[in-house]
């Protein structure tokens, strides 16, 4: 058995030191929580999809956008709004500018042009919903703020399992991977917040199938939704695929940072929204039609290119600076090295493989999940929106509410929990076994099942028969993985635990996709080809109850 190297008791344990987790720690301390510990898989300065920076912060400012309800309606009508609960969107937007001012005060550059300016991701002539900022220092500033308040951060401590007792959260099991030999860390915590980021590596990588880590967002965020799933937390929108788009074949997010026009080979714009580069609006075609870049290849009218050649030198200089703000320095260095000047070259774009981005754990207006005492924030949340602003807001709200709840709670006995011993033995078995498939084999096995049996539209379809087959194949693959996989050191055990989490997410996706008997967005059912208007105002939950997968619709929270 892998030994336990440390035990901790805390008021509030946070899983993941990204934007949501750090804001939760800061807010919990400000709200009076005593011991707050962040369990971080890597290092909070450079972890998660905000690791290197971001440059758009969606927020509401009345003098810019008019009444709050106008921006709420505009967001709900967009592709990113369709999976959200209006109640949570309204609530987070209402306080969004308070966070902007707070970050500005802390030293994150929220006014890179000298004033608050809204740019990008915008329809011509409509209010621009995102504040342009420079996020290169955001993780350092938030980490410093957390540490200043006494938040403890355990680096290289991914969380393997959560535990529930007496109907509420009781604690967690983490892996200490600071050494080659793995050890366990057992934590009793009155409250817990999950903020593990969005999930990559479920599907065969779109740009380069042989390179699993060539992903638009951080590939080390993999399957954290499963930590809640296994203790019965409700998931939502798992069946609605999200597909990001960007340069081909160097997968990078940040398409809104480019200021060019998407064009056909004959120079015509592919969308109706932009005809020349514009730093205030960009070309929103890529946001509303993510699969344009593969659609035009399938119908023969492509490829489609991001063309910045019409930009002025000042606009191109602005774009270059913004690339760094967005954390794209590796891409800029590559372009410099290859002498790829955007003034003279047009870059082909492509849609990437599906990810769980703003799909996953369901939270309420307290940022609490359906498991009492368990909170969630960030891109792993399924009904609150993805991106910087919801991560920051729901992290903050979750931290405040967790701190308040913890004051009235006692620790629950964890050592007597049978699941603790069972899960430690389960993870130890991989370290004890000498021969068998490693995490890579398991991850590829999962990806090929997901890509064939729970595929995303528009080019691929799902049916009940295909999904039933996929569920059966995935269960077989999981069983073999559980019984035969090996993990000879702490690094490979961390990776294998990710694949176990990913496979739980895969099951949740397939069961939810089976239950949604209609086509909606990139969830395309060949046996239910229509979009059912009666489901437009509903959310589909998928969850575990006494070991059985359940699904149920509920009305959207207004």
């Amino acid at each position: 058995m892998i030994p336990i190297s440390a035990r901790y008791d805390c008021d509030f344990a946070i899983v993941g030191g990204g934007i949501g987790g750090l804001m939760a720690g800061i807010a919990a301390k400000d709200a009076g929580a005593e011991r707050v510990i962040i369990f971080e898989k890597c290092h909070p300065l450079r972890s998660g999809s905000g690791a290197m920076g971001n440059d758009h912060f969606r927020c509401w400012l009345e003098e810019e956008h008019g009444p709050l309800e106008d921006l709420v309606r505009q967001t709900l009508a967009s592709p990113i709004g369709q999976v959200r609960d209006p109640l949570l969107l309204r609530q987070s937007l209402e306080k969004s500018f308070d966070i902007v001012k707070m970050w500005d005060e802390w030293g994150i550059e929220m006014r890179p042009t000298g004033k608050y300016e809204f740019m990008g991701h915008a329809f011509p002539g409509k209010p621009r919903p995102t504040l342009k900022y420079n996020g290169t220092k955001q993780k350092k500033v938030l980490t410093d703020q957390a540490k200043k308040r006494g938040v403890e951060i355990l680096n290289h401590h991914p969380v393997l399992e959560l535990f529930k007792q007496e109907g509420r959260i009781a604690g967690l099991l983490a892996l200490d991977m600071t050494k080659e030999e793995p050890s366990f860390v057992l934590v009793r915590s009155k409250t817990v917040l999950l903020s593990t980021g969005h999930t990559s590596r479920l599907y065969i990588t779109g740009p380069t199938p042989a390179y699993m880590f060539n992903t638009s967002h951080c590939p080390n965020n993999a399957g954290g939704q499963a930590l809640g799933w296994r203790i019965g937390a409700k998931l939502v929108n798992m069946e609605i695929p999200y597909r990001h788009a960007g340069p081909k074949f160097f997968a990078r997010s940040g398409k809104g940072t480019w200021i060019g026009v998407y064009r056909y080979p004959d120079g015509r714009p592919i969308g109706p929204f932009a005809t020349k580069p514009d730093i205030y609006y960009g070309d929103i075609t890529g946001d509303v039609w993510n699969t344009a870049f593969s659609d035009v290849l399938r119908d023969g009218s492509g490829p489609a290119y991001q063309d910045c050649s019409g930009a002025t030198p000042e606009q191109l200089a602005f774009q270059r600076k913004a690339f760094f703000s967005e954390g794209l320095s590796a891409m800029v260095n590559y372009m410099d090295d290859k002498k790829l000047d955007p003034a003279e070259n047009a870059f082909e774009f492509m849609p990437y493989e599906p990810t769980l981005h703003g799909r996953g754990i369901e939270i309420n207006e307290r940022a609490e999940t359906s498991v009492p005492g368990l909170f969630a924030a960030g891109d792993m949340v399924g009904n609150g929106g993805a991106g910087i602003h919801p991560a920051a807001y729901f992290g903050m709200i979750g931290g405040q509410n967790a701190a308040a709840d913890a004051r009235n709670l006692d620790f629950l006995p964890l050592e007597e929990n049978e699941q603790v011993q069972e899960r430690m033995a389960f993870y130890s078995s991989f370290a004890e076994r000498k021969v068998g498939p490693d995490w890579r084999e398991a991850n590829f096995a999962l990806q090929q099942i997901m890509s064939d049996y729970a595929p995303a539209g528009p080019e691929r379809v799902r049916t009940e028969n295909i999904l039933n087959a996929g569920i059966a194949y995935l269960e077989q693959m999981r069983q073999e993985m559980f019984e035969t996989a090996i993990a000879p050191n702490s690094h490979t055990l961390m990776r294998l635990a990710e694949v176990i989490d990913l496979s739980d997410c895969g099951l949740a996706i397939m069961h939810a996709a089976k239950a949604r008997q209609e086509s909606r967005a990139y969830h395309r059912r060949a046996d239910f080809r229509f979009t059912n208007p009666l489901l437009a105002e509903k959310q589909l939950n998928v969850f575990l109850e006494n070991g059985e997968v359940k699904t149920e619709y509920r009305n959207k929270w207004k």
């Binding site: 290092h43 450079r46 380069t208 951080c218 080390n220 160097f250 004959d266 050649s309 891409m331 961390m494």
Partner: protein, 80 residues
Amino acid sequence: MPPVIDPALCKKCGRCADICNSHIFYFNRDAREVPVVRYPEECWHCDCCVLECPAKAITLRIPLPFTMLHVPSNTLKPRS
């Protein structure tokens, strides 16, 4: 495979191993040798090791399949 460490510049501090979000480096703190890029295929090419290295000893080599496909902008026009 990325990243590439220049052993002549590396100060053997282990910062890259501590900071990498993919855990691709192996660094033996007791031996204090140049870190080994142990899991190169797990690199996200995020650039954090390059930016965090106090000796500027690390560069990224972007793999050939990650080529950014491009054409000269002036070719985007109707063909005769």
